[in-house]
């Protein structure tokens, strides 16, 4: 197992990035790391910054964008932190490893890039005040997360965007304590789903001005997955009427575990318990040699939700060292809108 593969295995502990069955043994313990507790009080701006005493953490931003010609685009900007030991140290001695993923999806092509770094030397990290999350030249920065500049580059793409939050932070699960299995594994999880976005995409054919909506997920934990869980399907849906929904399904050997948060246009949240949201794959597409469901039916009877969610392009495959599917989606049916879908473990 190579150092990088191993980083990935650490990341497999994250529900959003779980894949093979092989990681399962690692899911159980949290050797020396702090474990999330149900009655946590978030402290800002500190909690926008890193939590080295937890094993895993991320700043995960996705945005649905449109060009002036109405063409749809999606971007992803993610910074993962993975701790080898539950503390931070100066220089190369730091046990904190950072990984960045960036992607740009057009209706016919998916671009992505990946960066790795160690903490302690300043090559990557997050500061809470003023807020900056960075790895190499990629960054998300502003005085605080409510207004940030976001930029990333790959060999053949890049973007430089301004994000302004038009609503409050929202907390998932029980005030930000998000349970991930029937056995009680959990993480701290909050989001900023109300970003308005404008800026430039850099594509091989030239720069494209875009506007749209962005969604930031902040999550940290030390052992979020149950031993039998092999992968997950995660949806962030923004409906045209202003409501939003975060919903995920953790695929377990014994049973699936689902959870969702209904977010109204003013930021009021309702936690939706296990079993209420139903996910049904409608069409699969052969992507990177695997059958990936690229069209879904998602239903939530208590909200009269019955929608079809389909990928903007089926080929939104992140062929990074750890591979997964992540791309923009279109919503139709009882509600219409746009969103992002992440699928792992296929």
């Amino acid at each position: 197992m190579n150092v990088r593969t191993w980083l990935i295995v650490l990341l497999l502990l994250i529900p959003g990035l779980s894949r093979a069955q092989g990681y399962a043994g690692l899911g159980g313990s949290a050797e020396g790391f702090t474990v999330p507790q149900p009655d946590y009080t978030f402290q800002f701006p500190q909690d926008h910054g890193p939590h080295p005493e937890y094993r895993i953490e991320w700043w995960y931003l996705t945005a649905n964008l449109k060009g002036e010609d109405g063409r749809d685009y999606g971007i992803q900007w993610t910074l993962f932190r993975s701790a080898l030991k539950p503390h931070e140290a100066e220089g190369w001695q730091s046990p904190q490893i950072w990984m960045g993923h960036a992607a740009l999806t057009t209706p016919d092509k998916h671009y992505f890039a990946e960066r790795l770094s160690r903490g302690g030397i300043g090559q990557a990290g997050v500061t809470a005040e003023p807020f900056e999350a960075w790895i190499d030249e990629w960054h998300m920065r502003g005085d605080d997360p409510s207004a940030v500049n976001l930029s990333a580059n790959g060999a053949d793409f890049g973007y430089d965007l301004q994000l302004t939050a038009k609503g409050p932070l929202v907390f998932h699960g029980q005030n930000g304590y998000s349970v991930k299995s029937a056995d009680g594994q959990a993480s701290y999880y909050y989001s900023q789903p109300f970003y308005e976005v404008q800026g430039l995409l850099r594509l091989p054919d030239g720069d494209v001005p875009v506007t749209g909506q962005g969604w930031l997920d902040r999550e940290w934990s030390s052992q979020p997955l149950a031993a039998d869980q092999s992968g997950w399907d995660w949806f962030s849906l923004s409906f045209d009427d202003g409501d939003k929904m975060m919903a995920f399904r953790l695929r377990g050997e014994r049973s699936d575990f689902t959870a969702a948060t209904w977010i109204t246009a003013d930021g009021t949240t309702t936690a939706i318990p296990d079993g209420e949201v139903a996910f049904e794959p409608l069409t699969t597409s052969l992507v990177a040699g695997r059958d990936i469901p690229v069209r879904w039916r998602v239903t939530l009877p208590t909200r009269d939700l019955d929608v079809e969610v389909s990928a903007l392009t089926p080929d939104a495959w992140m062929a990074t060292r750890f591979e997964y599917w992540e791309g923009p989606v279109q919503i139709s049916g009882s509600h219409s809108g746009r969103g992002y879908l992440e699928m792992t473990g296929y």
Partner: protein, 804 residues
């Protein structure tokens, strides 16, 4: 029918077991020497290749600071500007007196290295958390493992056989602790796949030099000439071995003429016969070749440790001392054995195929091969001239070898003609019938012996040439060591501060304290070591300058000029009067060139203030101390006690010289070994030729015996003839050997190592070699002479009775 022919052919070998053995031994020797050299080369190249692959050397462009390490902050700045670079920190550490290189890479960002991949794919992969966080893990070779494991205070050790020798591979975070270089980076490698828009390096890190991957001095390139040298020697040994094969096959064919005539008369077609003989030769070649491979394998195993020591000493190129059977040289050895057999027997086979069915079984026809003819001699002269022209027109290492080869081959071809001329002279001046018979008989023998004598000539010339080179080098090197190691004591302190204390403490007790400070610069010509000196008589009087301009030392000391070593001068063609760009901001006139043996890299000397300008942080831990020789031991003891220095930190000049000479001697162990083997093979070639001739000589000797010479007299003459021919050949070999020595010293050495050596003559060595040659010739002739002595007179009489 085929079976019958095979049986008939095989019957010859049953009747001539010694001949069969000779043939197989000749083949085995030729193949063995050749494949030993090939095996050594293959092993060395595999080592370089492994090192390059495992460490991804020479695959990426690199960024170097022109005079020292790069601060970690610079790495981060480059990264934050988008440049995809990876940090490397390397340096030597000493463990129980052994120097080991520590290579620290940023395991997170560095491209995957095979050694790491292999370890991580093993049955018990280490926990990467242990690798990336303190105390970390050290990855090293099986040979170094026990040394490191026995050392307290080191991180745990993992063994990998996918690493070059003498190397510890570890994470950069572990390396900075081991090397005590916290926050420093030796160089950066530029990774492939840079993002689309990054600012130019000149804007963000103007002080760093970008060294392109193809410009990096790689070991394979550096040692190319050394291996070419070895290959040339291997080829020479092979050629000499083939003379044996040629002699034996010629004899066997001659002796079989009667049998072949009978077979032809019985109706066997010539075509079938030739095919069967070729098949027979192939079988013999494969058997002999296989024996040779076994021989070569063990020979290579015996020689490799010394070759490894040489390569390490000369080029710092680490190769492992273990030989492994590799198909490439095994196959090439067998192919050479087959090819060589047919080359050596082609002529005999051709003549056989042209033999008329009813021709006599006489041997005379066989011997009429006109190898002493003037046409061959002209071809020889042409080869010599061609070789010289190649060198004049093209130059370079390969042309140097072409010239040497042309000279050797050409002289060998001229040899029979030259010998026959000499013999004619002797014959003319001879008085009395016996003397006249002896000379003319020698001339008659010459064609049959000429190939063996050529082999002897080549072996002797190689011995004289290489011997002269090694001895000249030794003499020069010893003299150079005396000039270079002038200080009576050499001290290495633990820190710069301790260095200052030592210098202070010594200043009142000794004649002079000479700081030895240097910095490695990334120069356009490859790595350049810049040394700083203070003004001292020692340098003015002793330093080995091979070329100097007026007031050389004054100009160096006042900071206006620089000295360069011979390697740099020759490689870059920089001589006194020209300028050397040391750093982008410092260019100095070259005032002199000094010899610097045993060092592959460029070197330059400036005044101490100049060095401080370029590299203020250059270590100041080493000193040479001038003191009355009688006080050296006492002072060394005092220094160790006063500053609590380990014994190795204070070295006396004599010890240093002994160590240097030991390295030098190792360098030529292989050359000497190959030399002696070649001479042995040549002696063997003479023996086989004489044995071949022996069977053919009875018809000539019998009439002389019948005329009244006794067998004892004939036997004595037989010995004398062999010794005389060998002596003549040796006399002719001397100028050839000296020419070869000159070529090695002035052409090959300059190209291969970057230094030119003065040539010294060693007449005593030649006398010794001559004695050895005569002895070998006498021993080779002893067997036929003894046979003659024991031969019943009846056999000699039979010559007149038998139809021949």
């Amino acid at each position: 029918m085929t079976m019958a022919v095979i049986q008939a052919l095989a019957s010859h070998w049953r009747a001539h077991r010694l001949q069969l053995m000779t043939l197989l031994v000749g083949l085995a020797l030729a193949t063995g020497l050749w494949s030993a050299v090939q095996a050594i080369n293959a092993e060395a190249r595999a080592s370089y290749g492994r090192a390059a692959d495992q460490l991804a050397l020479g695959q990426f462009d690199e960024l170097h600071h022109p005079n020292g390490p790069i601060p970690l902050s610079r790495y981060v700045e480059l990264r934050r500007a988008g440049w995809q670079v990876a940090a490397v920190l390397e340096g030597p550490i000493r463990i129980q007196g052994q120097t080991v290189r520590v290579l620290g890479v940023d395991m997170v960002a560095y491209p995957a290295l095979p050694a790491i991949t292999q370890m991580e794919q093993s049955g018990t992969p280490p926990d990467p958390a242990d690798m990336l966080t303190a105390p970390g893990l050290l990855l090293t070779t099986p040979a170094l493992g026990p040394l490191l494991n026995g050392q307290t205070g080191l991180p745990p050790v993992l063994i990998s056989d996918a690493l070059p020798p003498d190397l510890i591979l570890t994470d950069i975070g572990v390396a900075e602790v081991l090397l005590n270089q916290s926050g420093k980076v030796s160089h950066l490698i530029i990774l492939p796949d840079q993002p689309g828009a990054v600012p130019p390096l000149t804007d963000i890190a103007p002080e760093l030099d970008r060294i392109l991957a193809r410009e990096q001095l790689d070991t394979a390139q550096l040692t190319h000439s050394f291996h070419l040298n070895l290959s040339a020697f291997g080829l020479l040994s092979f050629a000499v071995g083939l003379f044996i094969v040629h002699g034996t096959v010629g004899l066997a064919f001659a002796q079989r003429r009667g049998m072949i005539r009978t077979l032809r008369a019985l109706g066997v077609s010539m075509r079938r016969l030739v095919w069967l003989i070729m098949a027979e030769l192939s079988v013999l070649a494969i058997i002999g070749g296989t024996l040779g491979l076994v021989l070569g394998f063990f020979l290579a195993g015996a020689l490799l440790p010394d070759v490894a020591a040489t390569l390490r000493g000369l080029y710092g190129a680490p190769i492992s001392g273990q030989i492994s059977l590799q198909p490439q040289w095994a196959l090439s050895g067998l192919a050479m054995a087959l090819g060589g057999t047919f080359l050596a027997s082609g002529h005999a086979l051709y003549r056989l195929s042209r033999m008329p069915v009813l021709s006599g079984a006489g041997l005379q026809a066989w011997r009429s091969a006109a190898s002493g003819s003037w046409i061959v001699a002209i071809a020889g002269v042409a080869a010599i001239v061609g070789g010289i022209l190649a060198l004049l027109l093209f130059g370079g290492l390969v042309a140097g070898f072409v010239m040497v080869a042309g000279m050797l081959v050409g002289s060998a071809l001229v040899l029979p003609y030259a010998l026959s001329l000499v013999l004619i002279l002797f014959q003319r001046s001879a008085k009395g019938p016996i003397a006249q018979w002896v000379w003319s008989d020698m001339r008659a023998q010459l064609p049959g012996l000429s190939l063996a004598l050529m082999a002897l000539l080549l072996a002797l010339a190689a011995n004289i040439g290489v011997g002269t080179m090694v001895s000249s080098f030794r003499l020069t090197f010893t003299g150079w060591l005396d000039q270079r190691l002038t200080s009576e004591l050499y001290v290495t302190t633990a820190t710069d501060q301790q260095g200052r204390d030592v210098a202070e403490w010594l200043s009142f007790q000794v004649d002079a304290v000479l700081p030895i400070r240097s910095v490695e610069l990334a120069h356009s010509s490859g790595p350049l070591f810049l040394y700083g000196i203070i003004d001292d008589q020692t340098y003015r009087e002793k330093w080995p300058l091979i070329s100097a301009s007026d007031g050389v030392w004054d100009r160096v000391i006042d900071g206006t000029a620089v000295l360069v070593n011979e390697q740099l001068a020759r490689r870059e063609n920089l001589w006194p009067g020209q300028s050397l760009v040391i750093t982008p901001t410092l260019t100095l006139t070259i005032a002199g060139v000094y010899s610097d043996y045993g060092n592959p890299t460029g070197q330059a000397i400036v005044s101490m203030p100049r060095l401080d300008e370029v590299a203020p942080n250059a270590e100041a831990r080493r000193f040479g101390i001038r003191v009355a020789p009688g006080r050296a031991t006492e002072l060394a003891q005092a220094l160790r006690e006063e500053f609590d220095l380990p014994p190795r930190a204070v070295v006396q000049q004599a010890v240093m010289k002994a160590q240097s000479m030991a390295v030098f001697e190792k360098t030529f162990v292989v050359t000497s070994a190959l030399n002696i083997l070649t001479l042995g093979v040549a002696g063997f070639a003479i023996l086989t030729s004489l044995l071949t001739l022996w069977t053919q000589r009875l018809p000539q000797i019998a009439p002389v015996w019948a005329l009244g010479l006794t067998r004892t007299e004939l036997a004595r003459l037989e010995l004398l003839r062999s010794v005389l021919l060998a002596a003549l050949t040796a006399v002719l070999a001397l100028p050839l050997g000296l020419a070869l020595a000159w070529a090695l010293l002035s052409v090959i050495n300059v190209e291969a190592f970057g230094w030119k050596l003065p040539m010294y003559l060693f007449p005593l060595d030649w006398a010794y070699l001559l004695g050895l040659t005569l002895l070998a010739a006498a021993i080779a002739a002893a067997l036929p002479a003894a046979r003659l002595l024991r031969m019943p007179p009846a056999d000699l009489l039979k010559v007149f009775a038998n139809e021949r």
